[in-house]
Amino acid sequence: MEEEAAQAAEGGLSFEPLEVFNLRPLFGHGEVHWYTITNATLWMAIAVLAIFALFVIGTARRSVVPSRSQSIAELIHDFTYKMVEDVAGHEGVKYFPYILTLFLFILFVNVLGLIPTSFAPTSHVAVTAVMALAVFITVTVIGFVKNGAAFLGLFWVKESPLILRPIIAVIEVISYFVRPVSHSIRLAGNVMAGHAVMQVFAAFAAIALIAPLSILAIAAIYGLEVLVAAIQAYVFTILTCVYLKDALHPGH
């Protein structure tokens, strides 16, 4: 433990980045129970409020010629709707509210997490894994309910030669069960890495000699992270659509 810590903290500064991912009770001190209101709770609540502000208050006027906030809400709505329709097909449109919920949650939590001293719940694998597992289980259930045993055709590739089919089936099954893992780790890893890198540079900014360089680097990486925040929300959502498409239309 001692050695590990020493290795991790090579510069004497670098383990500090992980501190920003800690959960802290918002009121008082003490243990974090499942019901404790923590900084994670706070920033998830802010995300809900932001979504409420944009999608409920922003669209309250229902103008035919939309205001700025209304057109942003409509833009996000249309963008996600088109994505679901294009990727998962017309049958997938039924699941659009669920997919939009995931997209908005990840997008808002990612972007709000970029505010200095805030907290990004999507940096926790526990959070992304729950979402990825929910998608995985839902999609698998939909697949069996809609197609019955024919859903297994997803693993039995008819186009390939008969000799190769069992081998491909094994690979397909493995890749199917790896989906939730990659789905969740991709998001959490991206968010965590970005925040950790910025924390490292922030720590170096305390040293006068390299402060300008590290501040420049923070600015650059911050810009990159804004991009990553949106792109990872998009990637998570479009992969959800792809999995949904596999469930609705198995077979390659």
Partner: protein, 196 residues
């Protein structure tokens, strides 16, 4: 919070690391290290998952109860408005085209009418002019005939006068030469000479 604690001694800490090596780093690390990545701390899982589910349900309810029906209705209204506006524009365009055609037709009619009236007026004027001209010609002819007659009369009178003067002159010349003019012979000679 953590930054505030570390920031002032970060510089010296780095210098110390360079000087003393691993031992300083290890102690420094041990001071702050609580137990590896917070992401792998099982104490946090329950809290995160509970509040995640609460959050997702809240967002889902906001979307399905209020936002999506409202945006759907707004989009439908907009589509309807745009559709009816386009239809109205199409109607107006047809009306404008009809009005243009009617205007063109009216213009052509007016032109034709104008040229017809013009031609008629010209013909009337021409006729009137011809009549006037004929009348004037007739008047001129009458006047010319009258003048010609007067001229002939004057000529005849003048010719008579010339004969009388010539006769008188011839008698006077014969008397002046000492002869006794025979009036009849003189008159005949004069008449013969004058009429040539």
């Amino acid at each position: 919070m953590e930054e505030d604690q570390t920031a002032p001694d970060a510089g010296p800490a780095l210098v110390a690391n360079e000087a003393h090596g691993e031992t300083t780093t290890a102690t420094h690390a041990a001071e702050e290290e609580a137990g590896g990545m917070p992401q792998l701390n099982p104490d946090f899982f329950g809290n995160l998952i509970f509040w995640l589910i609460v959050t997702l349900v809240a967002i889902f309810l906001i979307l399905t109860r209020v936002a999506l029906p409202r945006i759907g209705a707004t989009l439908a209204t907009r589509r309807g408005t745009i559709g009816s506006d386009l239809a109205a524009a199409e109607t107006l365009r047809t009306q404008a085209r009809d009005a243009q055609a009617a205007y063109d037709k009216a213009l052509a009619d007016a032109r034709a009418e104008a040229s017809r009236i013009g031609a008629q007026a010209r013909a009337e004027i021409q006729a009137q002019l011809d009549a006037e001209l004929a009348q004037a010609d007739a008047r001129i002819d009458a006047k010319a005939a009258q003048s010609a007659q007067a001229l002939r009369q004057i000529e005849a009178e003048a010719a008579g006068s010339v004969e009388a003067v010539a006769r008188d002159a011839a008698r006077a010349i014969v008397e002046a030469l000492g002869g006794h003019p025979d009036p009849a012979a003189v008159d005949a000679a004069v008449a013969r000479t004058v009429r040539g």
